[in-house]
Amino acid sequence: MEELLYIQNVTKTFGKFVALDHVNFSVNKKEFVCLLGPSGCGKTTLLRIIAGLEEPNVGSKILLEGKDITPLPPSKRNFGIVFQSYALFPNLTAYHNIAYGLKNKKLSKKAIDEKVREALSLVHLEHVKDRYPAQLSGGQQQRIALARALALSPTFLLLDEPLSALDAKVRLKLRIEIRKLQEKLGITTIMVTHDQEEALTMADKIVVMNNAKMEQIGTPQEVYEHPKTPFVADFIGTVNMLGQEGSTIAIRPEHIHIMDTQTKNSIKTKVKALEFRGAFYRLFLEIMDQSYQVSDGLLAVDVPASIVKKLDIDKESVLNAELPQNHLVTYA
């Protein structure tokens, strides 16, 4: 795969405060990369540095197709951007919002019109082209903002929490739509989000950040299955943190096996609570073996509904839980 963007040693301070601390990663052509992390970890700052809207500290480098673009202003970087607020111009119709950036490109009126219509059809919103942003739903505004960014045929696309202002249903729908569009156009995309589910479902590659630093980088599967740090394990999905002989081990609830018979590796537990989650139950187990300490007190385990029925599991049932070695992640 060919690399498009290369982020090298990117550091940013605001006075004494360090917002980004030597961040390194690369983005391949046609790749969808998610910057994932809790609020305040520096995601937006990183995105704005890539866009050229913030000036990073000396030593930082951003390469676009091998060329150093760090000293270039945003206007010379050729990207499209969608902000959380969309930043649609309220006094211009959807059509003119999209046409806005094209007007500076020395195109003929007809060429502009064509490009606007094309962008509108990409997001399936031809029918609202004459409406003002205030007359559009949140999801429609979002797609118009996307169309505006795409109309200029940018080299890469930057999205800052593009879905966070929408309600849950629309958000799920747009996730799929944005990803489909990205694949169709083959446009390299960097999206900022603090929603791990969004990152897992949409990204080719996730960059997990915490406290101004990069924690881990990898495919959704890698990051989920093999979290490199306790932070990543805890931040993505649900995880049990167990203490054993001075080290910490992490295991996901669905990776723990429940059996009615005792084996060499299993531990004895008692059900303290259970929640019905549709296809499965989440059990909260008290560990009766003294050599383990669970950080939250109880061990969360996801068990298919069929097994719960078969084993007739209820409160106070005593169960054997096995922690398979291949799913255990141990931290010093």
């Binding site: 040693n9 301070t13 390194n24 050229g52 913030e54 000036e55 500290n57 270039l72 930043a87």
Partner: protein, 602 residues
């Protein structure tokens, strides 16, 4: 070509662990250069318009009559001169009294309009704003016609009551002096206090009342435990505004002050009467002090206040209470009648032949012939100055606010510019006028103590309309900058980054989006500048020449010469012009304002 592998293994990348605090400077394109130059130009303009004249004023206060630097001798002399110290006490007395009365009156008025179900609310609101359209001299002149020696009320309607009731029923309030000044200042400051309190009361959270209700608070208790604390910032703010306005006002004390001296009239006497410029500027600097203190106190309070409101405030539900409504209705009616009777007195004074001897009607006073004025010329001068101030001022102020608010370049320059832009809030008009004479009238500047001389490139402005316009713009800069900034803050802060990403130069987005979206605020600024330039006296009293005399100045000249009736007439024309302009504005811009509001909705 780097592969995925190298990135995943940070050890292979040249790892640096030290942080260099310096930032990478972006190369600047043409649009960015232009943008940065404009920001610098703004700072330069503010320095020339505010800082340099002020420095000149300070230097002047350090000189003696012969122009030699003598340090703080003038200040020492000031506090040794009993009459001057006396006027400082007088001024404090007047302004504190004005602040208290004005805030109390305005509070109940605002309370009536916000929290009761009285009739005629619209009318009461318009009447409360009427004094804004008049120069402060008008209040003084009107009071003379009502309460002066030959005033309607002093003489029991010219003996009319005596014929009917057998007694003159005249009331002499001893108008000339502190009484007249305080009444005039209260009228002058009432609309401003009212406006601040109206806003403060309307945003108070209803849930506080519900909370008080569930705790079983009585009405009085509710008033003192909920209403008053929740608007205490508004109350203090209103007091400060009223205090500063009256502390620095020149018009009213000039007309009804008689022998009662205040700082503002002292400056005028020192500068115009005795040609003692050093003492004039010394008094000017003393005039700044309380305004400066109030300015910083107010800033600090506002910072605290912004946290005490939640955006989810629930608005007040008015409970029925006929007795309360009756009392408040009578209260509002009395105040409104008071304001309207002033206008009535001015209309009467402008139209009768010789008050109080010949009440036959005439239009003679409106021609301004054979009086200390110059016919209608000052009025047309005022129109011209106000119009240009409105146009030029709106452009400069709005664009200045835009440059400060909506840029990512030159943060420190912009912060400094913001400070300078807000500073005129603490500068009384008289001080601006005085500083301008010193600065613009100087052929050469000497940089003090090192003996370097620089020819003044701005001297040609002296004595022109342009210097008056400039003084007006600076005088009203801060209030309007705040209006503009508030409007700009409501716009999405990502408009500019998005435009930059699309390679659209900033000025295009400014014209295509920022200006159309902010049109209501822009128009509001324009009308404010026009109305205030029509009525202002303090900044311009030092700056006019025979060719650039304004209507407000001719009012002062006419009252000085005893031509009170034409002075009243001139005040009347100013008020009518302002009302007319405002009404035309309301109708002409309704569409624009509605459209902008439709865009704003989310």
């Amino acid at each position: 070509m780097l592969t995925e592998e190298t990135v995943l293994k940070p050890s292979e990348v040249t790892v640096q662990n030290t942080i260099d605090k310096r930032k990478i400077r972006q190369k600047t394109g043409k649009a960015e250069w232009f943008h940065k130059s404009l920001i610098l130009l703004m700072l330069l303009g503010l320095i020339i318009g505010i800082v340099l004249p002020l420095i000149q004023l300070f230097l002047e206060a350090l000189k003696d009559k012969n122009g030699e630097y003598v340090g703080f001798v003038n200040f020492v002399n000031y506090f040794k001169t009993e009459s001057l110290v006396q006027s400082m006490y007088n001024t404090l007395y007047i302004s504190i009294l004005t602040g208290v009365i004005s805030v109390v009156l305005a509070f109940f008025y605002a309370y009536a309009l916000a929290r009761t179900q009285i009739r005629w609310k619209g009318l009461f609101k318009y009447v409360a704003f009427l004094p804004l359209f008049a120069p402060t001299m008008m209040h003084g002149i009107a009071l003379i016609y009502l309460f002066g020696n030959k005033g309607a009320i002093t003489t029991g309607f010219f003996g009319l009551f005596e014929k009917i009731f057998g007694s003159t029923m005249g009331i002499d309030i001893h108008l000339y002096g502190p009484v007249g000044i305080v009444i005039s200042e209260v009228i002058y400051t009432f609309p401003q206090a009212f406006l601040i309190l109206m806003v403060a009361i309307s945003v108070t959270d209803y849930r506080l009342y519900e909370a008080a209700e569930t705790l079983g608070s009585g009405k009085m208790k509710k008033f003192f435990t909920v209403t008053i604390p929740s608007i205490k910032y508004g109350l203090v703010s209103a007091f400060f505004v009223a205090f500063i306005l009256s502390f620095t006002d020149f018009g009213a004390p000039k007309v009804v002050g008689a022998q009662y001296n205040v700082l503002a009239t002292d400056i005028y006497k020192q500068v115009v009467g005795q040609q003692n410029l050093s003492m004039g500027s010394t008094v000017g600097i003393i005039l700044i002090i309380p305004a400066l203190v109030a300015f910083f106190a107010d800033r600090m309070m506002q910072r605290k206040q912004s946290t005490s409101f939640s955006s989810k405030s629930v608005s007040y539900k008015i409970v029925k209470n006929p007795w309360r409504d009756k009392a408040y209705f009578v209260y509002c009616l009395l105040i409104s009648l008071g304001v309207l009777s002033l206008i009535g007195a001015i209309i009467a004074a402008s139209l009768v032949k010789v008050w109080p001897y010949n009440f036959s009607l005439t239009l003679e006073h409106l021609t301004f012939k054979n009086v200390a004025g110059n016919g209608l010329e000052p009025y047309f001068n005022s129109l011209y100055v106000s119009f240009i101030t409105a146009i030029l001022g709106t452009i400069i102020i709005f664009f200045g606010a835009y440059l400060i608010e909506k840029t990512r370049f030159m943060k420190i320059t912009r912060q400094l510019s913001y400070f300078l832009s807000i500073l005129p809030l603490a500068l009384p008009g008289l001080v601006i006028g005085l500083a301008y004479i010193f600065f613009f009238n100087k052929p050469v500047f000497e940089v003090p103590f090192i003996g370097v001389y620089i020819t003044n490139p701005f001297q040609s402005l002296y004595g022109t309309f342009m210097i008056i316009i400039l003084a007006n713009i600076i005088h009203f800069y801060s209030v309007n900058l705040i209006t503009a900034t508030t409007a700009l803050k409501k716009l999405d802060k990502e408009f500019e980054p998005v435009s930059e990403s699309m390679n659209i130069p900033f000025y295009k987005t400014f014209c295509n989006v920022t200006v159309p979206m902010s049109l209501p605020a822009i128009l509001e600024i324009g009308i404010y500048l026009f109305v205030n330039s029509m009525t202002t006296i303090s900044a311009v009293i030092f700056l006019y020449t025979a060719d650039t005399k304004l209507a407000s100045i001719s009012i002062v000249n006419m009252t000085d010469a005893g031509d009170t009736a034409p002075a009243a007439a001139m005040s009347l024309i100013i008020v009518l012009t302002n009302i007319l302009v405002r009404v035309v504005y309301e109708f002409a811009t309704k569409k624009i304002r509605n459209r902008a509001q439709a865009w704003q909705q989310r």
